[in-house]
Point group: C2
Chain length 165, copies 2
């Protein structure tokens, strides 16, 4: 969800501006981990309301809906590190993606336990353990890294073209 379907940078930047008066642009934080780019990021992700407030990433919702016509889609989100996020993530999905059923949702810690054919994720720590086809969802924090065996995609329109040719 975060960094693939839900735009964490938008709220990091909003809250950082609220707290410091300084607006950081995405280009400024390229190559930096989120906790380096926004010094209070770790406090923010433990704040009630953070995960509920995230705006959807462009074209994600409608692309997932299209993918469901041809694929068995699961939404797998690392959530248990932030216990308050589990309810917020279910509420977020209910609002933004009501076509996702409870059967399709996985709220987890490590993603090593996931079995599927394709994984779309913005973190190497998740993709590197996955057996199938992997797409690295481009985000400022991963932009300067070599994608390696993963295929970097720059947004949902590109994924749509690849997965629904």
């Amino acid at each position: 969800m975060d960094g693939v379907l839900a735009d964490v940078y938008a709220i990091f930047a909003d809250w950082h501006e609220r707290d410091t008066g300084i607006r950081k642009q995405k280009e400024e934080v390229v190559g930096m981990r989120e906790f380096e780019a926004f010094p209070d990021a770790r406090k923010y992700v433990f704040t009630p309301g953070f995960f509920r407030a995230l705006p959807p990433i462009e074209h994600g919702i409608e692309t997932v809906r299209s993918l469901m016509q041809r694929y068995d889609v699961f939404i797998v989100s690392a959530a248990t590190e932030f216990p308050q996020s589990v309810g917020e993530k279910l509420a977020w999905l209910n609002e933004h993606m009501p076509f996702i059923s409870w059967q399709q949702v996985v709220l987890c810690g490590s993603k090593k336990i996931v079995k599927a054919d394709i994984m779309i994720d913005d973190h190497f720590k998740n993709l590197d353990y996955f057996d199938g086809q992997t797409y690295l969802f481009d985000q400022p924090h991963n932009r300067l890294a070599e994608a390696g065996r993963h295929t970097r995609v720059r947004g949902w329109s590109e994924l749509n073209a690849i997965l629904l040719p």
Copy 2:
């Protein structure tokens, strides 16, 4: 968790007795699905506090702790059907199994997406899709069914003997 680590029958029986004055014994409900055995079971599992109140199943907690010395253990629980359960299940684990880290917890809907070597579960709908070794945890609702390719185990002491010989 439910029916393997947490004793759903105990609370079904307690709440059924509270509401009807009748105490059902486990032997009476052998071969019945939980929702047949306790007509209000579906109402109960959507009631706040149900999942938080479940007592641990005998020898489960200490056996999992022992297993962690030799195995990479994950607690995978079907939870998203009952949104109020996700927070309660995390709180239950935090109280009863504080040695389980957030990385090891998976709250999901369908368990088709689980990749591992061994699965311990009381439901065929979960075991049947799993590629590895499967243990059917004996419960009244599954007792009359043929275990098929799964190995039926009658409690955690038996699992301990099998997995930590």
